[in-house]
C-alpha cells in the first residue's frame, strides 16, 4: 500500500522482543475496550462514563477494591494454571474443572473435621487451614494429572479431555452440594455448607493471605522457567517435542508434570475463592460463574505471553474490569453479562492481534526510480 512517498508493508518478524509484545498487548486491550464501547452506547451510556464507573469502583472504592483484589488473586492463579502447560505447547482449558476439584477437596477436609455440623464449631485453624490448602492442591493436581497422563501416554487431545473434565467436575459439584448431597448447606437453597468462623482464612487488611502465595508463585515460576533445568526442558518440549525427545526429554513426563502443576495452581484458586474470600466461605450455588471467570486465565496467559511476572498487572486489570463491570451493570442498568461480553470481545481481539506477533507493519520511503540508475548505467 502506498501513501504519498511512503510505502506501508507487512514484514515477517524474526524475533519478538518483550517490549514489542507489551506494546501489541496494550494496543489489543485498548482496541477491545474501544469495541466494547458499543455495548455502552447501545444501552444509552456514554462509554467514558461507563469506563469511569468501572475503574473508580474497581480501584478507588473502599467496597470495590477488596473485591478486585480477590478476583485478581483468583485470576492470577488461573493464569499460572494456563501458562505452565502452554510453555510445553499444551492447552489447559481445564482450569475450571481443576478448581472445582480443588474446592471440593478443601471442603472435604473441613467436612471431615466436622465443619458442617455447626457454624460455631471451634476448629484448630493452624491445622485445618493448611490441610484444606494441601487437599485443594492435590485435588486440582489429580484432575490435571488425568489430562497430563493421557497426553503423555497416548497423545490424547488435551483440549477435548480438559473440557470434558470441566463438565464432569461441574456435575460432581452439583451432586455434592445439592439435593441432599454430602456438602449441602443448611439453608437448603442450593449452596454448599458454610465454613465455621474458626477456619476462615486469615485476612490482612480485608485481603486473604492467599495474595502472598499468588505473588510469591510469580517469582517462583519466573525463576523456574528462567533458571532451572526442568524449566528449560518444559520450554524445549514446547518449542519442538520431537527434537526435545532426542535431547533426552521425556515426552511422557513433561505433559504429566505441566498438567499436575497447572492443576495445582487451579486447585489453589478453588481454595482461594470458595474458602478464603470474605463473604463466601462456601461453594455457592452459582459456582459455575466462578468456573467461567477462570477462562480469563486463558486471556491473561495469552496477553502475558506466558510470562508470570507480566501476568500480575494483567490479572489485576481484568480482576478490576470484571468486578467493576458487574457493578456498572447494576448501576447503569446494562443487563446481565457485561463481564462475559467483555471476555468474548477481549478474546477475539487478542486472536486478531496475534497476527502482529508474527508480522510487523513497516513504513518505508519509496525509492525513486532514478535511484536505480547506477546499476543500469
Amino acid at each position: 500500500m502506498k501513501l504519498g512517498n511512503y510505502e506501508v508493508k507487512l514484514e515477517k518478524r524474526v524475533t519478538l522482543r518483550g517490549w514489542e509484545a507489551a506494546v501489541i498487548s496494550i494496543f489489543a486491550i485498548l482496541f477491545a475496550m474501544a469495541v466494547f464501547s458499543i455495548i455502552f452506547i447501545r444501552a444509552g451510556v456514554d462509554p467514558l462514563t461507563g469506563y469511569k464507573e468501572i475503574f473508580s469502583y474497581a480501584f478507588l472504592s473502599p467496597f470495590g477494591l477488596p473485591l478486585t483484589i480477590n478476583r485478581f488473586v483468583f485470576l492470577l492463579l488461573c493464569t499460572y494454571s494456563f501458562i505452565i502447560p502452554k510453555k510445553a505447547g499444551l492447552w489447559n482449558i481445564g482450569t475450571t474443572g481443576q478448581l472445582y476439584a480443588g474446592a471440593l477437596s478443601a471442603f472435604a477436609v473441613a467436612f471431615a473435621f466436622g465443619a458442617k455440623t455447626s457454624q460455631s464449631a471451634t476448629l484448630s485453624a493452624g491445622l485445618v487451614i493448611p490441610l484444606m490448602m494441601i487437599a485443594a492442591i492435590l485435588g486440582g493436581a489429580a484432575i490435571g494429572a488425568i489430562t497430563g497422563f493421557l497426553k503423555g501416554r497416548f497423545n490424547t487431545n488435551e483440549i477435548v479431555v480438559t473440557m470434558m473434565l470441566n463438565f464432569i467436575t461441574y456435575w460432581v459439584v452439583a451432586r455434592l452440594i445439592k439435593e441432599g448431597g454430602l456438602f449441602m448447606g443448611a439453608s437448603g437453597e442450593g449452596d454448599g455448607f458454610k465454613l465455621p468462623e474458626s477456619i476462615y482464612a486469615p485476612l490482612i487488611k480485608d485481603v486473604p493471605f492467599t495474595i502472598f502465595i499468588a505473588l510469591g508463585l510469580a517469582a517462583l515460576l519466573y525463576f523456574l522457567f528462567a533458571r532451572t533445568r526442568i524449566g528449560y526442558q518444559i520450554k524445549a518440549f514446547g518449542l519442538n517435542p520431537a527434537a526435545a525427545k532426542y535431547a533426552g526429554i521425556s515426552p511422557f513426563k513433561i505433559p504429566l508434570l505441566v498438567f499436575i502443576m497447572g492443576g495445582l495452581m487451579a486447585g489453589l484458586a478453588g481454595y482461594h475463592y470458595f474458602a478464603a474470600v470474605p463473604g463466601l466461605y462456601r461453594i455457592t450455588k452459582n459456582y459455575g460463574e466462578f468456573g467461567d471467570l477462570a477462562f480469563y486465565g486463558i486471556i491473561c496467559g495469552l496477553i502475558s505471553q506466558g510470562d508470570p511476572l507480566a501476568a500480575i498487572p494483567i490479572a489485576l486489570l481484568f480482576g478490576g474490569l470484571t468486578n467493576g463491570g458487574r457493578f456498572a451493570q447494576g448501576k447503569l442498568k446494562l443487563g446481565f453479562g457485561i463481564d462475559y461480553a467483555l471476555l468474548g470481545v477481549l478474546m477475539i481481539t487478542l486472536v486478531a492481534f496475534q497476527f502482529f506477533y508474527r508480522y510487523k507493519i513497516v513504513w518505508a520511503k519509496t525509492r525513486k526510480e532514478s535511484s536505480n540508475v547506477g546499476i543500469h548505467g
Partner: protein, 291 residues
C-alpha cells in the same frame, strides 16, 4: 421407551449436523475447536429472531447466516492471516460464550411459539440431518469439488500446483461449515430445547468435535457415532426412563463426557492409530503459504 428413542434421535440430529460441519472444515485442513461457540451464536440469534418475528424460518435463516459469518471470521484468521487455528477456535468459542450470554439474557425463558410439527413422530430436522450426511458423503467422495476439498486438506502445496485454489476451497468449506454449525445451534434452541438460558449448550459442541475424531473423517461413521451419543446424552438427561434409581441424576450427566474421554483414549492408542489412523487429513491445523 418409544419416547426415549424419539428424543435420542432428536438429540443425535444436533450432534450429526454439528459434527458434520466440523468434519467438512477439517477435511479441507481447517480445525475449528470453537464449534460450541458458533452453535451458541446460532442458537441464540436464531432464538431471538424467531421470537421477535414469530417465524421459525426467519430464526433458522438468521442462525445460518450468523454461523456463516463466524465461519468466515475463523477462515479469515486461519486462512488469510495464517494464525494458530487452535487459538482462533478458542477465540471463537469464548466470543460465542461471552457475547451470547450478554445479548441473549433479555430473552431468558421459553420461546413461547407453537412447536415445530413432527414428521412420523420425529423432528423434521432428523431427516434433514440424514440428507445432509448423504449429500456430504456424495460431494466429498463422488464429485470433483469433494476431491478438491480433500486434497487441500491432505497436501495443499500439491493441490495448488495442480491448479486448485487452496484459499478459495478452504474458505468455501469453512463458511459452509460455520453455516451448518449455526443451523445445529438453531435446531437446539428452536426445536430440541426451546428455552433460552445462558451457555445452555453445556458441551454439545465439544462432544461434536470429539465425534469427528471418532468418525475417521467419514460421514457415515459420523452418523453412527452421533446416534450413539444422542442416545447416551438422552439417557444422561432422563435415566429414569431406562434405568431407574441407579445413580444421582447429576452423576448421570457426567456419563457422556466420561465416555467421550474413554473413546478418545482408545482412538489415540498405537493399536488403533496404526490400523485406522491414516484417515486424518494430513494438513489439518496447518496454515498454507504460497510459494
Amino acid at each position: 421407551m418409544w419416547e426415549f428413542m424419539v428424543r435420542s434421535l432428536d438429540a443425535s440430529t444436533i450432534f450429526t449436523i454439528a459434527a458434520l460441519s466440523e468434519l467438512l472444515g477439517q477435511r479441507s485442513g481447517v480445525l475449528n475447536v470453537g464449534v460450541e461457540g458458533v452453535m451458541l451464536f446460532g442458537a441464540t440469534i436464531g432464538f431471538m429472531v424467531a421470537q421477535t418475528t414469530g417465524s421459525y424460518l426467519m430464526g433458522v435463516a438468521a442462525a445460518i447466516i450468523v454461523g456463516g459469518l463466524i465461519g468466515f471470521l475463523h477462515g479469515f484468521f486461519s486462512i488469510t492471516l495464517g494464525s494458530d487455528q487452535v487459538v482462533n477456535g478458542m477465540g471463537i468459542w469464548i466470543l460465542g460464550f461471552g457475547l451470547t450470554t450478554y445479548i441473549g439474557y433479555p430473552y431468558t425463558g421459553p420461546l413461547g411459539m407453537e412447536r415445530i410439527p413432527d414428521v412420523a413422530g420425529l423432528s423434521p430436522f432428523f431427516f434433514v440431518g440424514i440428507a445432509l450426511i448423504v449429500i456430504a458423503w456424495f460431494v466429498l467422495f463422488k464429485t470433483s469439488l469433494g476431491l478438491k476439498i480433500r486434497s487441500v486438506g491432505e497436501n495443499p502445496s500439491v493441490a495448488e500446483v495442480s491448479g486448485i485454489n487452496v484459499t478459495r476451497t478452504r474458505y468455501l468449506s469453512v463458511v459452509t461449515s460455520g453455516m451448518l454449525m449455526g443451523f445445529a445451534g438453531a435446531i437446539y434452541s428452536l426445536d430440541y430445547n426451546p428455552v433460552w438460558s445462558n451457555d445452555f449448550l453445556m458441551g454439545w459442541g465439544f462432544i461434536a468435535l470429539a465425534l469427528v475424531f471418532f468418525s475417521m473423517w467419514h460421514p457415515f461413521i459420523l452418523l453412527g457415532g452421533s446416534i450413539l451419543f444422542g442416545a447416551l446424552w438422552q439417557l444422561s438427561l432422563n435415566p429414569q426412563l431406562v434405568l431407574p434409581d441407579i445413580m444421582s441424576r447429576y452423576i448421570w450427566r457426567t456419563v457422556p463426557f466420561a465416555i467421550t474421554i474413554g473413546a478418545l483414549v482408545l482412538m489415540s492408542t498405537k493399536w488403533f492409530s496404526t490400523r485406522w489412523g491414516a484417515a486424518k487429513p494430513q494438513a489439518l491445523g496447518l496454515p498454507f503459504e504460497k510459494g
